[in-house]
Every structure is written in structure tokens, then in C-alpha cells.
Symmetry: C2
Subunit: 458 residues, 2 copies
């Protein structure tokens, strides 16, 4: 049996990018249907209930300064924000020693801090030379895309401790190792976020500054509600896209074998490029586009949260933010709901360590993560009332987080294929954005850009 729909624009993927694109297509007076593989909307944005009507987010959750498009979306949807909890002292668990410090700069060897600072300044200066629309046209693009970010760190950061701190910061932003990522991509990404690494690293004044009341998934949920159930087809993984001068047919197949076909004049594929490359296209896409999708791997991160009756660390004068050079969890935050009850400790397990975590049994994973919390925040952290985690690499319809990164050679060899439409096919998703690439704000911008192009072509 087959369900057939006819619209102006078919949209693949009900993440923020796809839903925003649908919103804009409809606002322009055209018709749109969003086809989503999962039984829910939101993609990498997902709430999880923790009882008492409270939720935590196991996907993207933060919003910061200059993220204007996702901020405008929140205003439009009447979703309030509240500041990430940062009051109190942060922890640095380093070289076997646990130190408390205030602000974003730990009290460690000033030589190391100066080394980190000079590296940041240089990376930021270089990043501003990368054109956001065409990174491969940077004057030094060939040299920057010929090396890994790790190679740059080893050559330009003198002290081992500074390299380690920068690796840690890198892992927290890209959820992968600096060795995996082209220096040019790192510079593009920094410029895309405004040209400041502190913007990427920080809570106050940075990309982790604020959170959404009720959880970030309210953004896609409210967008979907406004579109109406009839225009968001859930549980329908898109497997095939036929396209030509007369338009497109987006073909999905439900678990029960029911086929869904959406006929449209244009399509917007709002998936990470690596996943967009797994769809069957007829006619097949040009080699350059297909080979690009072979070069856009997703990062590896597990977002792990322990739940306590209260955020007891606050009484100890701690913010809940900790940085560590050992164990699975190297970075923590206080992720308690706005009211401060229950207390939630959030730990990120990233890159190589996330892959180790992925090989462990659920009980062992929880035990290992809670051990880290206890080492950092004391015995009370050892016995949480609840535990929530998400290993995004295991998710069939995500296959990694936070997003895609480009390895050396990809931007200079294939960059043009990232955003260029192919006939009636447009590309959206956080990776396609020029500004705040890889963030919820970038997802919103990419959806707005793709919708404008698709509508203009109708």
C-alpha cells in the first residue's frame, strides 16, 4: 500500500533545519510536507523526562550571544530562556590534583596559560581569513587543509599541558580528536561562530550561556504543532529521491512496509551530509557531491546525566563545571532545571572515550560515569537517584554528534558540493550554515536559506 502526497516543497528530516524550512515555505504561501524517519521530531534536539514534570536534554540544549536566528525562533514560539548555572567555583582536576577556581581561567602555571592564550589568538586571527561562503578560497587554504588540527597544535603550542588543555577544549566543541579534523575546517568553524574560541568554550558570554525553559525540544515540537500533524509524516525513513526538471518524488518506507511518496516541485534535504549520502538518488548525484558525503564524518559523544534530590555541590560553593584530564568524563556542567530541583550533573564523554563507552555494557557505563562525578564532586555524587545517557553514534538516524567535521582535503577538494543545489534538490542542516555552523542557530539559518532558495525557484 502507498500513501501519495503532492506539495510544492518536500522536506526530508524534521530536525530544526527541516521544520524551519517548512515554516518559511508555508509562510511564503506554498505547501510543504516534512518526511521524518523517527516517530518524533527534533533530530539531535531531544528532551528526556526526569519526573516531576521536569526534563533534561540529551541533545543540543544551549543558546548564546549572536545566535540571533534561533533566538528569534524562540521568541516567535514564546519559549523563554534562563541562564546556565555558573555561580560558584569551577573545578580543575589536573595532574592528579583537584583545584577550585573562579571564572573561566583556572589558576595553573602561568607559562601554560600564556601558551594557551597565544595559540588561541593565532587560531582566531587565522580563522578570520577563512571566507565563510567559500573556505577553499582562503589564501592559505591549501596549506591549512593539508594538515590536521593536531599537527598545528604540535607545531605551534610549546607546552604539553597547553596542548592537552586545547585538545580538551577541542573535544568539547567538536566531539572528536584534533587529529581527525582539517585545520582549515577548524578555522572555518571558529570564524563561523564569530571568530572567538572563548565564544565556543564559555558559558557566560559564550555558546553555553543560556538554556530553554521546558527544554530545547520545545522548539521543534512547537514548529511541528504549527505545521500540523498532516504536514509532518513521522516514522517514514526516506530511502529514495527521484528528481528531474519536472520535480521530485521523495520515497519513504515505514516499518510495516507501507510506502510513502511525496511529489513536489522542489525538495530540501535537511540531513547531515553523511546521512544524505545514504539515500538512493535517481538519477544518481554527481560524483563530487557523492564523494563529499564520504568525507563528512560525524563526531562521537555521549551525553550523560546523574540526577540527585538537589544540586548539593552548590552548597559547597561549586558551580558544577569541572574540567579533568582523566577518566571518561572530562567536562561537566550543572544541568539542573530552572527551579534547581532536582540536581542534575551533566558529563560529556567525547571522541575516543565515547567509543570506549560505546563498547561497555549499560551498567558499566553508568558506574564509570558516576565514578567520575564522585571523584570530582565527592561521595554524595556516588549515589544518584537517576541516570540518563545518550550515545548518539548508536542512533540509526543520527549516527554521531554534535555534527559532521571535514577531514583534511575535503574543503579544498569537495567544498563546492556542500551547499550547491542539484536540479530541484536543496541542502539544509547545521553543517550547511555559514554562520554558527554545527549549532542549533546554524540549523535554523540553513533552513531559512534553503527555503528561500526553494520558494524562489517555484
Amino acid at each position: 500500500m502507498e500513501t501519495v502526497r503532492e506539495v510544492d516543497v518536500a522536506i526530508v528530516g524534521a530536525g530544526l533545519a527541516g521544520l524551519v524550512a517548512a515554516r518559511d515555505v508555508v509562510a511564503a504561501g506554498a505547501t510543504a510536507v516534512v518526511v521524518e524517519a523517527r516517530e518524533r521530531v527534533g533530530g539531535r534536539v531531544l528532551n528526556e523526562p526526569i519526573g516531576g514534570g521536569e526534563v533534561v536534554e540529551v541533545g543540543g540544549q544551549w543558546i548564546g550571544p549572536t545566535q540571533d536566528r534561533v533566538a528569534a525562533l524562540a521568541r516567535e514560539l514564546e519559549i523563554a530562556t534562563f541562564p546556565t548555572h555558573t555561580a560558584g567555583e569551577n573545578l580543575l582536576d589536573w595532574g592528579g590534583e583537584r583545584r577550585r577556581y573562579s571564572g573561566t581561567i583556572p589558576r595553573i602555571n602561568p607559562v601554560v596559560l600564556a601558551d594557551v592564550a597565544q595559540a588561541q589568538r593565532r587560531l582566531e586571527r587565522m580563522s578570520r581569513r577563512v571566507p565563510l561562503d567559500r573556505p577553499w578560497l582562503a589564501r592559505r587554504a591549501d596549506a591549512w587543509d593539508a594538515q590536521t588540527t593536531e599537527t598545528w597544535l604540535r607545531r605551534n603550542v610549546a607546552t604539553g599541558a597547553a596542548r592537552e588543555l586545547l585538545r580538551l577544549g577541542f573535544q568539547s566543541v567538536w566531539a572528536t580528536e584534533p587529529r581527525d579534523v582539517s585545520l582549515l575546517h577548524t578555522l572555518f568553524y571558529v570564524h563561523s561562530a564569530g571568530g572567538s574560541l572563548d565564544m565556543l568554550f564559555d558559558a557566560e558570554g559564550g555558546a553555553q550561556q543560556d538554556r530553554f525553559v521546558g527544554g530545547s525540544q520545545r522548539l521543534p515540537d512547537e514548529l511541528a504543532a504549527r505545521l500540523g500533524d498532516a504536514n509532518v509524516l513521522l516514522g517514514a525513513p526516506v530511502r529514495r529521491i527521484d528528481h528531474g526538471p519536472d520535480g521530485v518524488v521523495v520515497g519513504a518506507e515505514r516499518a510495516d512496509g507501507e510506502r510513502v511518496a511525496v511529489r513536489a516541485r522542489r525538495a530540501i534535504v535537511a540531513l547531515a551530509p553523511a546521512l544524505a549520502g545514504r539515500i538512493v538518488y535517481d538519477p544518481p548525484l554527481p560524483g563530487a557531491r557523492d564523494q563529499l558525503t564520504q568525507r563528512t564524518p560525524l563526531g562521537t559523544v555521549a551525553k550523560c546525566m546523574a540526577i540527585y534530590d538537589e544540586p548539593f555541590w552548590r552548597a559547597d560553593g561549586l558551580s558544577g563545571e569541572a574540567t579533568s584530564d582523566r577518566g571518561l568524563v572530562r567536562l561537566t556542567f550543572d544541568n539542573s532545571p530552572p527551579g534547581g530541583r532536582p540536581g542534575v550533573l551533566l558529563g560529556f564523554v567525547e571522541g575516543q572515550r565515547a567509543r570506549e563507552l560505546g563498547r561497555m555494557a549499560p551498567d558499566a557505563r553508568r558506574a564509570a560515569v558516576v565514578d567520575c562525578f564522585a571523584r570530582l564532586f565527592g561521595p554524595r555524587a556516588a549515589s544518584p537517584d537517576g541516570y540518563v545517557e545518550r550515545l548518539w553514534a548508536e542512533e540509526e538516524f543520527t549516527r554521531g554528534c554534535y555534527g559532521c567535521h571535514l577531514p583534511p582535503g575535503a574543503w579544498t577538494g569537495y567544498g563546492e558540493a556542500l551547499r550547491a543545489p542539484i536540479g530541484p534538490l536543496h541542502w539544509a542542516g547545521a553543517e550547511v550554515a555559514e554562520v554558527w555552523s554545527g549549532y542549533m542557530d546554524g540549523a535554523v539559518r540553513s533552513g531559512e536559506t534553503a527555503a528561500a532558495a526553494a520558494v524562489a525557484a517555484l
Copy 2:
């Protein structure tokens, strides 16, 4: 409508690896069916007729010393070999000058030659320290996998000309740029070929030494003939593999919508990892395996041949082998049939230049390639009787050649997932081989290894 087959081992992909696996499963007294997307067998091994009963190969074609398993296969199938034509002087078109030279070493600046030689020796020495079964266990694996091969060249090769020559050699072996490939992968690959770069570069005494009479596609054709049409299902792209303790169901769908289901106790997926990652698996594969397939891009190469009534360059005392530092074609061979009629000039367009070629119209491609031949071999080369080319990145069921390479971080982060079976699923294909990885010989070895494992598990 659905066709259902039941066998012991279902094999996905009728390239050399899949067909050899099927041969061995059947030889062990079990039953096998090979499911192939194309209407032909051979994968990246493909003949093209050029009239008069002669053929040229637009895919893999050579066999060299120590490639014992493909040699044994050829003997078994009674397919003879003949030496690649190398008589005469080679050409070096370098720095605007065209020089003739004998043997494999051009008469250029001895400082440059010494620089190339020291780099080769060092790479070869390092390569022997990479364990073929587990490259990530090399003592220096972390450092070698944290940098691109280009980074190593820039650091360890003093003269620009030597770097350029090594890049050219690299492109001719990997069909990609040294910037795209992890140094650890390059070292693994060299060791996999015996630890000698000359083995990879050379005709006589190297991987390009001999050719197959009647064309290399006779190997898969004869294998398929022995299996019988009923056991090789053509035109059936595999889209889905359901797997569990009770076995597997391999699901394909033909262009006319007919569904094909092969029920088996084990399956061997004999595709390049990047393509294996595009199949839908139920249950979904572990994150480590899926993320590996996001990190195995295929190279980019166009194999272009001009056909002349005779190999006129031979009369000029030329071998037909040329190396150039400009134009689309940087490497040529005499690819005439054993009898020497017609004359065939083979030009490789690789890496970045293959992507440029991919953006050109067919006529412009032919003109650009023939121009290169004319510059190298004189006016007679300007007007061929025929022209044959293959752009493998454009092929829906190949998506690149010669094979997959691993970018930095992939071997150390995901290497274990390349070969490890998952339940009843085994992996084959040239990329999986420990010896002659990426070559026809490696494909044969991988098929033999996977078949032995699958049969042992029946």
C-alpha cells in the same frame, strides 16, 4: 512480487572478493548466492571492447610479483598473462622540458633523486613497523595517524621537486592527494604491498608488471560462469540486511520494483566500506562500525585511453610511459593489446584533476586528455581513432577508485571495526585485506578469508 532464495551464505557484491568467496563456500560443500546491483559482474574490474575482438580495461588490470592469490586464481581459471609493454625510453615532462630516459629513474637533478630516495627508504622502514592485522598497535601509531601524508612530505623532503615527484607517485597509487590520507594508512598500505614503494610504482618487478590476456574482467566472468547464472543475481541492488542469531535476510530491489530476498545463515558483504555503510541493517550496526564507514572515502580517478591504428610511439623508441607535472594527465602507459594492434595510450587523471575532469562535458574531456597525449607523444597522438574513458566517482555502485583510504584518526579510532564480523555478517573487499590491500590480489584474499570464516561458522 518477491523472489525468495534460501542458501547457507548470502554474498553482497559480485566483484572479485564476492565471487571468490562464493567459489570457496561452494567448494566447502555449502550453498551460496551472490547478489549484485549491476547487470554485470566484476565491480571495479571491467573490460571495454575496442573492436576487432580486442578489449581494454577501464578498471583494475595489472598483476605483479607476490600477488600470489590472484595469480593462483588466474591459473585456476586458465587465464594467461603477458608483460606490460615497457620496451623503449620513458618520458619525463617536467618544468616545461621533455626528457627521455631508460629504466625507472629519470635523469634529473641528482640532489632531487637522492632526496626522493631517502624519503622512500624512510617511509619503507616505517611501514614495516605497522602490523598488518592491527595497524593501530604500531608503536608510533598515534603520531602517524595524527598527521596527513602531505604533512610528512613537507617535513621530511627537502626539495620541492622531490616532494612533487613523490606526490605524483602517491596520486598514481592512491588516486588521491597526500593531504587526504593519514600517514599511518599510507604506511599500512606500503607494508601491505610488501614494504617497497618501488613495488607500488613500477611496471617491471612491480604491481604494474603483467596484464591478463583477454582483459582482467575474464577473472570475474569465469568465476561467475562456474557459479552458474542461478547463483549470481544481477540487477539487484541490496538495500537492506536483517540479521540475528537465526541468520540473515538480504533484501534487494530491482529497477522494476521486483523484490529479491535471500535467506541465509551467514552473509558476506563484499563492498567497499563506504558503500556497505549505505545499506540499511536491522538491527542497526554498532556505532563504531557505522562511524568507520563514514571515514573510508574512495579516491577519484578517471582512466582515459586513446586508440590508434598502431602504437606509433614504439617506432620512435618510446615505451609509452610518461610522467608529467602539468595538464590533466600526469601518468601514461602503453596499454595496447598483446598483439600490439591497435595502439592504445592510457592516461590516468587523478585526485583533484579527476574532479576537474568530472565537471567537464564529454567532448571537452576527450579534447583535454588527447591534448596531453599530443604534447607528450607528438602530433600523431592528436587524432586517435577512438577514445575510451571511465570516471569511477560517477558510477552509482562504485563511487570512486581505486579504493578507500583512511583519513587521519580513522585507523586508531575505528580500525577494529574494519574486519570484525558482526553476528552473522562478515566483511570482504580489497580494503579489508591485510596483504595487497586495495588491489585485485587483496580482493581475492579478502574473499578467501571471509569465506573460510563464514563456512567455519555454519
